[in-house]
Symmetry: C2
Subunit: 102 residues, 2 copies
DNA sequence: TATATATTTCGAAAAAATACGATATACAAA
DNA sequence: TTTGTATATCGTATTTTTTCGAAATATATA
């Protein structure tokens, strides 16, 4: 994927309020997901995010997949759970790119 | 419109390659629209942009309207022409906002 | 092994965005 | 006033995105 295609994928991923909201929540997991039964160091598990969005489980999963395809989040499976984290490096790289090109 | 709605409108406007391309062209009007019959200080007139995109006149006009609604470009009518310019202040403000929130 | 939980993937419906040609509007010039 | 040029808007078809419930997959536990 060329850089301009990557930017396209990222901007499209950001072009939905729910996905931006998820990224914002993941900036402060302890604030938004304090009741998670597992350590927040792992990330936030998909089910917690479902409940926060209020959308159906499958819809939220689709949004998470979009964020992941764009590289904006990383995942880690532990047992039956899949933990999501922001990919700060990638987010910073995107911000640099858009600052430079826009 | 709240700030977060404005960001939403702007990101959606940026979420199409043709619209980002138009903004890029407008950064260097003398390079991309050197053959415009009118002074480039006015901006670039819609017809020149049509020709550059290769899309139909009406489709390009719709893209320009989207950019304008987002505040990313300003327009100025002179006679029968409508000239488009980047709105640098607004673009910078958006970059600041997204750097701070993303 | 059977059952339960967490998550993704599938199939389909609904909503939003894109694109086009045709028409309308605005202005200029004959 | 008529004609021509530039641009926006309308009506509509197509494509893409969003959303959901149901089914599939993966793991854990009884």
């Amino acid at each position: 994927m060329t850089e301009s295609q990557e930017i396209d994928t990222i901007i499209k991923a950001l072009a939905h309020p729910v996905r931006r909201q998820i990224l914002a929540w993941l900036k402060e997991p302890e604030r938004w997901f304090a009741d998670q039964a597992h350590p927040l160091d792992y990330g936030v598990c998909a089910g917690m995010i479902d409940r926060q969005t209020g959308l159906s489980q499958s819809t939220t999963s689709t949004h998470l997949a979009t964020l992941q395809r764009a590289g904006l989040v990383t995942t880690q499976r532990i047992g039956q759970w899949i933990y999501y984290k922001r990919n700060e490096d990638r987010i910073q790289a995107f911000l640099q790119a858009i600052n430079a090109t826009l």
